[in-house]
Symmetry: C2
Subunit: 357 residues, 2 copies
Amino acid sequence: MELTDRQKQILRAIVDIYVSTAEPVGSKAIAALPDVNYSSATIRNEMADLTQMGLLEQPHTSAGRIPSPAGYRFYIDELMQDYRLSLDETRSLNEALELKNQEFDKMMSQVGKLVSKMTDLPAYTVATRRSEAVAKHFDLIMAGPGSIILVLMLSGDEVKNKLVKLPVKVTEPELKLLAAVLNASLTDLTAEEITGELLEKITRSAGAASPLVPLVMDFTLECLRRQYGDVHLTGQMRLLGQPEYRDAAGKAQEVFETLDEELITNLPAVLPKDGPVQFLVGPENVAKELKDTSVVMMRFDIGDGMQGTIGVVGPTRMDYAKITAKLGYFAENLGRMFQKNGQPTPPALPDGMKNEE
Amino acid sequence: MELTDRQKQILRAIVDIYVSTAEPVGSKAIAALPDVNYSSATIRNEMADLTQMGLLEQPHTSAGRIPSPAGYRFYIDELMQDYRLSLDETRSLNEALELKNQEFDKMMSQVGKLVSKMTDLPAYTVATRRSEAVAKHFDLIMAGPGSIILVLMLSGDEVKNKLVKLPVKVTEPELKLLAAVLNASLTDLTAEEITGELLEKITRSAGAASPLVPLVMDFTLECLRRQYGDVHLTGQMRLLGQPEYRDAAGKAQEVFETLDEELITNLPAVLPKDGPVQFLVGPENVAKELKDTSVVMMRFDIGDGMQGTIGVVGPTRMDYAKITAKLGYFAENLGRMFQKNGQPTPPALPDGMKNEE
DNA sequence: ATTAGCACTCAGAAAGGCGGAGTGCTAAGC
DNA sequence: GCTTAGCACTCCGCCTTTCTGAGTGCTAAT
C-alpha cells in the first residue's frame, strides 16, 4: 500500500480527530488544521481515494469519514507518533506505581486496577512462565489434628500452599522426615524430570508419612505444570464511559461476556506474540462480538522465570498512541516492583517532559 | 402499619408482578389473577389507599403502580414467602458448588463468581474474622542469595507469605534458629499480646538473624490485625442485563463506581449486622447514587475463626425471595467447601423439591 | 361495601417536516 | 496537470405534532 505524504497526513489527522471526538471527520475540519494548506475540496478528493483503498469508511453518504480497521492498522504500523507523556501524566503514573508489596497474585491484580484507572479503560493482567518451573523448597506444617499445610516454593519466588487432609495419623518428626526427603529429591526438577521411579524411591524413604506422597505430588505437579497465572480482568464498567456504548449497554455486556471467556479459554490469543507490544484491531479479534473492540498488549518483566502481560481493552476508536505510551511507562517501571526488595522505589521524575493535551 | 388481608394480598401481588416484569402494575392485571375475586375498581380503591400510606408509587398519573422502597421493606419483612428452589435450580447450584479446592482468597473470589452467575447479578464476597487472630506457625525459607520467604500460618488455616529482602547476610542455621524462636515465643498470641518486651527478648535470642526481627514482626502484626479479607466484587456487567439500566449505561457505571468505593471504605455497611441475612433496600443505602439499588447479604460459615459474607447487588426491583433462597442454599452448603478436606463433597440432591417458575 | 361506566390524563410510538453538515461533481484558475 | 470555488444533492438527527391506549379517579347504581 503506497500513500503519498499528503494522504498520510490526512489519514493521520482523521484518526487523531476521530479518536478524540468519536464523530465522523469532515473535509472542512481537516482543512482548518494549522499545518494543512489545501482546500477542503482537495481533501475531499483525497478522502475519496483513501476510501477507495479501504482505509476510510463513511457511516452514510452525507457524513464525514471514519477510519476503517485497515485504516487503524496502517496508522498503528506506520503513522502513529510516539506520544510523550505530560509531566502531569508522568506524575500520576508515578503516584499510582506506589503499590504495596504483597502477594504475587494480589500485585498482579493491583497492577490491572492501576492500568485500568490510568487509561480509563478495562484492563487485564496475566503472568506467564518464561521457562520451565522447578520446585525450590517444600514445607509441611501441622495444622491441627488430621490436616497439614503444604507450602511449596517454586522458581521465580512463587509460593503456593494447600491445606491437605491427612489420610493417616502422622507425627511431627515423620512430617519433618518427609519434608527433608522431598527437598532432597525434588529440588530444581521440572515436572518432566519427576519420574515414576523417583516417586517410588521417595515413597520408600518417607516411612510412616508415605501415604501423603501422592497428595503432595498431585499438588506439586499441578503447580509446576501451570503455564499461566490467573487472568485478572478489571474495570469493565469503564467501557461504559466510551460514547460507543453509552446507549448500548447490551452490546457492552456482550463484549464482556465474550472477552471473559476468551481470556480464559483462548489465552494465547491475548498475549503478545512477537515484540513487547502488540495490537489487536477490531476484526483481528477472533470472536465476532469483539469486532468493534481493540486490545493493546504489553509485556513486562517480573522476577526470574516469569513475565507479565498487561492488556487494555477498548473500542476500535481508542487512543493507541497514548495508551501505548502509558503501558510502556508501566512496563518499564513495573519490573522493579516485583524485585526482591521489601520497599519498591518509584522511578524519579524525568526532567522537563512536557506535553499538551 | 396495619394492613387488611386484602391490602396485603394486593401489595404482595404488585411486588411479585413488578419484580418479574419491571412494568408498573395496573388494577386490571391484579383483578385477572386466579385467586382475586374483587373487581378492578375495588382494587383501584385499595391501591389508592396503599399509595396514600406510602407503600406504592405512581410513575405518572395514568400508569399503574410500583412498590415504593417502604413497600419493598414491608414486603420483605412481612409478606415475602419462602421461595422453594426448583429441582433444576438446585441441580445447577450443586453443579456450581463443585469448585476446586485452592487458596483461600481464590475460593472466596470463586464463590463470588458463582453467586453472580447463579443470580445473574453482580455479587461480592468478604471474609471477616469472628475472633482475634493468632499466629500458629512461622517458617523462613531461603530464596536465593539476599532474600527469604516468610511463611506465616494463622488461626483459621490462613497462610500468608512474603518475600523479604535481607538487610544482612544470614546463614541457613541462623534462619532455623530465628524460626524456632518465633514459634516458641509467639504461637497462639494475639496482636495485643505481643509486647515490646517480648520483642526484645526475641531479638536477643535471635542472634545473627536479629536484624530480621522487625521485618518479620511488621508483617506478622499486619496480618494479625487485619480484620477483613479482600473484597471480591464480580459480575458487574450483569447489572446491564436489568431493564432499568438498558438505556442508562452511565447510571450503571455510576452505581459501580460508588459501590466499589463503598465496599472498601465503608465495609461494615455492607456486612449483615444481625441475623444471617440482611437487606438494604434502595434509599436505605447511605450513598445517594445507590438509592435505586438494593443489596442482599448473607453470612456463611468458614473454618474456625472466620466467617464469610456474600452480597448480591441489584435494582431495587429484584426478586428478594428467590435470591434469598439461592443465597441461603449457598450459605448452607458452602461451609463444607472450606473445611479441612481435600475434596469438597457437594450436597445430596434434596428429594422431590419442585417449583414452577 | 362493591362494581359498572365514563371522562380524563399522559407516556410513548408513529409520522411529518425541517436544518445543516457533508459530499461529489463541474468548471474555472494557476 | 493539480487545485479550488461553487453548487446541487443527500440524508441523519432533531423537533414538533398527532394519535393511541393503558390506566386512573370519580360517580352512581347495585
